[in-house]
């Protein structure tokens, strides 16, 4: 028996990606088998190879998709105003974006070492360009006398680490809304780099 009723390429493809993302986030890339992903989709393992050349590409495509979405949404926001308002925009955007896709964030931060060297270089480059935007804001603020940080590169990484950490504890059912969380973190970021 092959190809049971109601199966279509257009729905199976995305479902493979969704199942892989969810499983990779919960168990880790190396601990998830192709048969497990296939079972989640409701298909035999061999059928997955209609949608991905191999397991490694499945991971890479998820990560690149996440980074592309991050940079695309970021580029869509207007970057006007002075350094302080741009930093607030960046802070709120980062929290909102990351809290909306906890699985993709988890996979993108935890599975870097499971990428092949070439794939790793691609993801690393995308991440770098995101960090560079924040560092540019900090540098502008320092030049304008609005910020005071000893080292803009370190401050960039410190701020991003602090903001991304929100994904480890935030739960939708919790007592705080995303906007409230944004405001609490913005308060700390603003003071941390203030002149």
């Amino acid at each position: 028996m092959a190809r049971t009723a109601g199966s279509h390429s257009e729905t199976t493809g995305p479902r493979v990606q969704e199942a892989a993302l969810r499983l990779f986030a919960r168990q880790g890339f190396a601990a998830v088998s192709m048969r497990q992903i296939a079972a989640e989709v409701g298909v035999q393992a061999g059928a997955l190879y209609n949608y991905t050349p191999d397991k490694q590409s499945l991971l890479f495509d998820l990560m690149r998709g996440h980074m592309d979405a991050l940079l695309a949404e970021r580029a869509a926001r207007g970057a006007g105003g002075d350094a302080v308002s741009r930093l607030e925009e960046f802070t709120r955007f980062h929290i909102r974006f990351h809290l909306a896709r906890p699985d993709a964030v988890f996979v993108s931060y935890m599975e870097l070492r499971n990428l092949s060297p070439e794939n790793f270089a691609v993801i690393e480059g995308l991440r770098r360009s995101y960090e560079d935007e924040l560092e540019g804001i900090l540098r502008d603020g320092v030049a304008a006398g609005q910020f005071d940080v000893a080292d803009t590169k370190i401050a960039t990484l410190a701020v991003i680490a602090m903001l991304t950490g929100v994904t480890t504890w935030y739960r939708e059912a919790g007592r705080l809304s995303v906007t409230e969380v944004e405001t609490i973190y913005w308060d700390m970021v603003r003071k941390a780099v203030a002149a």
Copy 2:
């Protein structure tokens, strides 16, 4: 042929732990095989079971050892002074301790999901008690009017995330000494929670 010359329990035991820690940090728990660890030690896979009941215990023992060392060294420091000086001590200690054991930090933060539920609960409890100490400092500072944070629990997690993030970029061969890094982070932490 068995038991080649120069093999001793006293040296093999620690060597198993060291090899496991290094490999888990570089490849991840699930991606490392017992045969790989054994090869690193220079022994056959079966011999590992003289030193650990199973692979899961190997991971758990590494994590518990790390957390025990963290709490023990923390307890050894005198916790005198006002909230500001205690926070500075905590900040500098956290950075120094974590930069000294990058592999253990990496494993302890990345492999939590590979612990059995019971083992996870143990590690989580230890981590919680470490976080509680920082939250206590923040609460005291708020009560004394020295700090101003909207939510001490969130501020605790934000500060720890920021500080632990240092392990992702710091390299011993880099341009900054550990003490310089401590000072840069302390400057940001101090301002972030300041009244």
